[in-house]
């Protein structure tokens, strides 16, 4: 059948969308396919002009002159006007050589392709993935916009294979990509690897390069692939790795043990450091909550358990301290912190935490407290020392001064004699004060080398002998309830002083109506020995004067002999011997003093 080239051939019946328009875009003829595409069933609803149908159609898109057919068409991608559905059309304009100033318009529905293309572009943008295509036959190299962006080159950059390969970092990276690309070309083997490139702006970047070969008859005709910018992710991963390494080293050197408790299954995981901290064998550890509980020092168990529960109940953060008994029976102080992890319903499912051995810190802390205590006591002694100097020395010295001045006055011999007597008394008192000062100073200079095991009873008896006369005149009923062999850890002269002071005090403050009875007893306890001096004297109002009792120059009786320094010195003596003194008394009934002597040689 001959092929007919007839200008009279109508297009109405043609099944594909095609229309004939004039230079005003008005329709002359339309095909059946055209009607179907644009859903134009009713003939009188037909649009008159192409412009009614299409969104954008600038006049410049029409071919201008009589050009050969091959070049006589222009492509337009546009969308349908006033349409609910988004339709993308490719319009091809052909010059109609048969009728002047008329054009054929070919319509192609490229909606799907356009959407896919759009999506692909979006994917590229978001995923920072650029595509490329190397047509080996035509040496045509295509880079997508994103590919160019990744390489930090302008959009008019024309890629060439060698140029492209030179982006790769000189050295290992470049050698590798060369190898892979040539392998793909020669053998059709695809590649997918990470590389470092140097961009057009000189920045070093991590990329993932994928290349695939398209083969025809066993020969590679083109290469295509993608370039993905993984720089951020890669750098982050490296930082993370680094941090991870540092953290592990940190944890190991700080001897922090990490534990992981699965609450639901009662499974407890300990890392190696944990076993070291607790001094337990991995083999013997049953790996459950009870196992941990049993390692804790019994006294601390209750607190530790409640801390765990409080953390689980969200009442508290888990941050607590407790002692553990190691396998060698030594004790360590542990600080344990942890965080509770919950599922979506808030139920606690896991606790992860860290343990540290703080024994050294605790010990130092305790020693610091002891030191502080001692310093405070010494400070108080220094303060009291100042008081002695300020008061007793000065008052006696000032009296002497006043009286000496009066000796020059014109007074009678009798009065002169009186003045001289008073000067004498003041001098004696001054001397006494200096002696007492000396006592206090001596206590300061005491070292542990002066401490010995002193026999109590014999020392007491010697003291009594030294005040024999006083004892007789006061007719004291003395009872000593101490074994002959009892010894206390003390300084001999201090012990003497203390006994002397307590005895003379009892005598001084005895009731005038009742015969004085003094009872001296001893009691040996685990850490200390207590010697008590009980009398039936006038007693002390402890509520009123209890605090001042052992202070300096604090007297509460009108007794002229009460200078108020005896008990102060006695307390000083007891403190210096690492002991203490306590008093119990009721007004009108009597007083008991308790002397505590430390048993241990090292006084810890």
């Amino acid at each position: 059948m001959p092929i007919v080239h007839s200008s009279q051939l109508g297009i109405n019946s043609l099944p594909f969308p095609i229309a004939l328009i004039n230079s005003e875009f008005k329709f002359i003829e339309t095909s059946a396919g055209f009607i179907k595409l644009f859903n134009l069933k009713h003939p009188h609803k037909q649009p008159l002009s192409l412009l009614d149908l299409i969104s954008e159609l600038p006049k410049s898109h029409l071919p201008k002159t009589e050009l050969p057919i091959r070049e006589g068409f222009k492509e337009v991608i546009t969308s349908i006007k006033n349409s609910n559905k988004l339709k993308w059309l490719k319009l091809k304009f052909h010059l109609n050589f048969n009728i002047k100033n008329t054009y054929y318009v070919q319509f192609e529905d490229i909606t799907k392709e356009k959407l896919i293309n759009n999506l692909a572009c979006d994917i590229e943008e978001v995923g920072r993935i650029g595509s490329w295509n190397l047509d080996l036959a035509n040496s045509e190299f295509y880079w997508s916009d994103v590919t160019k962006e990744i390489h930090e080159v302008p959009s008019n950059f024309k890629p060439e294979l060698e140029k492209a390969l030179n982006f790769f970092l000189k050295g290992e990276n470049r050698e590798q990509i060369h190898k892979l690309v040539y392998r793909a070309i020669n053998d059709g083997i695809s590649y997918d690897e990470k590389f470092k490139i140097v961009t057009g702006r000189g920045n070093v970047k991590w990329i993932r390069a994928i290349g695939k070969a398209e083969q025809l008859d066993g020969k590679t005709v083109s290469l295509y692939g993608i370039i993905q910018d993984i720089d951020e992710g890669q750098r982050r991963a490296l930082v993370y790795d680094n941090l991870n390494k540092k953290m592990r080293i940190g944890i190991k050197s700080a001897k922090v043990g990490v534990w992981d408790f699965d609450i639901v299954n009662d499974e407890l995981f300990w890392d190696d450091t944990m076993y070291e901290l607790y001094g337990h064998n991995r083999m013997c550890f049953t790996g459950d909550f009870e196992a941990w509980e049993s390692t804790i020092y019994p006294e601390d168990r209750c607190k530790a358990m409640s801390q765990v529960q409080l953390a689980i109940d969200e009442k508290n953060k888990f941050d607590t301290e407790f002692r553990v008994i190691k396998e060698d029976n030594s004790i360590a102080f542990i600080r344990s912190v942890g965080e509770v992890f919950r599922d979506y319903s808030g139920k606690p499912i896991r606790i992860i935490g860290a343990n540290m051995d703080i024994s050294r810190i605790k010990n130092k802390d305790q020693r610091l407290r002891q030191l502080l205590n001692v310093t405070e006591k010494q400070n108080q002694r220094l303060f009291d020392f100042t008081n002695i100097v300020s008061h007793n020395l000065r008052s006696n010295a000032s009296n002497i001064s006043m009286l000496s001045g009066m000796l020059n006055l014109e007074v009678s011999a009798k009065e002169q004699k009186k003045f001289i007597e008073m000067i004498q008394t003041s001098s004696e008192r001054l001397d006494e004060t200096i002696a007492q000062l000396n006592e206090v100073v001596k206590v300061q200079g005491t070292s542990k080398y002066d401490m010995h095991q002193i026999p109590v009873k014999s020392t007491l008896i010697k003291t009594i002998e030294s005040i024999n006369a006083l004892m007789l005149t006061s007719s004291v009923d003395l009872k000593i309830d101490i074994t002959d062999c009892l010894r206390v850890y003390a300084v001999k002269s201090f012990l003497n002083s203390v006994f002397l002071n307590l005895l003379t005090n009892s005598i001084k403050y005895r009731k005038s109506s009742t015969k004085l009875k003094i009872t001296v007893k001893a009691e040996v306890c685990e850490n200390h020995t207590v010697i008590s001096f009980a009398d039936n004297g006038i007693g002390i109002d402890l509520k009123k004067n209890g605090a001042k009792l052992f202070g300096m120059y604090k007297t509460f009786h009108k007794n002229k002999d009460a200078k108020g320094i005896g008990l102060f010195i006695t307390k000083n003596h007891m403190d210096a011997m690492h002991g203490k003194i306590e008093v119990d008394s009721s007004l009108g009934k009597g007083t008991t003093f308790y002397l505590y002597f430390s048993n241990n040689r090292d006084n810890s």
């Binding site: 300020s390 000065r394 000032s398 009296n399 006043m402 009066m406 008073m422 509460f556």
Partner: protein, 133 residues
């Protein structure tokens, strides 16, 4: 009795003996009354007030005394509603040079002054001059 009185409150008899001689020399027209401690003088002052008698013009008060010391006495006077605060010129007379004592005396605004022993003619002249004002 209409004679003007000076109360000398101190537990140190030697000081009181010497002080009396000095005070008499500077205040010849005054009668000097001795007290052993804060409680003694407090009781006397209360008694005078009750009987609407004549309060002492001047009081020299020591700090360190048994039973009731100088500070304790001042606390009692401070809390007491009456003429004592306003009518009696009180001087602390003490051998203490401790700063805390001097500072503590400043917290009692009704005290006239703070004298450190030994008591001298100069001190007494100064007191006399401020009395006359």
């Amino acid at each position: 009795m209409n004679v003007m009185q000076i109360f000398l409150v101190d537990d140190d008899e030697i000081f009181k003996t010497a002080a009396e001689i000095l005070i008499s020399a500077n205040f010849p027209e005054f009668e000097i009354v001795h007290f052993e401690n804060g409680l003694e003088v407090y009781n006397r002052l209360i008694e005078i007030e009750k009987t609407k008698g004549k309060l002492p013009v001047l009081m020299l008060l020591d700090i360190n005394m048994p039973v009731m010391n100088g500070w304790e006495l001042l606390e009692e006077i401070k809390g007491h509603k009456g003429r004592i605060k306003s009518n009696v010129q009180i001087y602390i007379s003490t051998s203490s040079i401790a700063p805390q004592d001097m500072n503590l005396s400043k917290t009692y605004d009704f005290i006239e002054g703070y004298i450190t022993k030994p008591l001298t003619n100069g001190d007494l002249q100064h007191i006399r001059n401020s009395l006359l004002r």
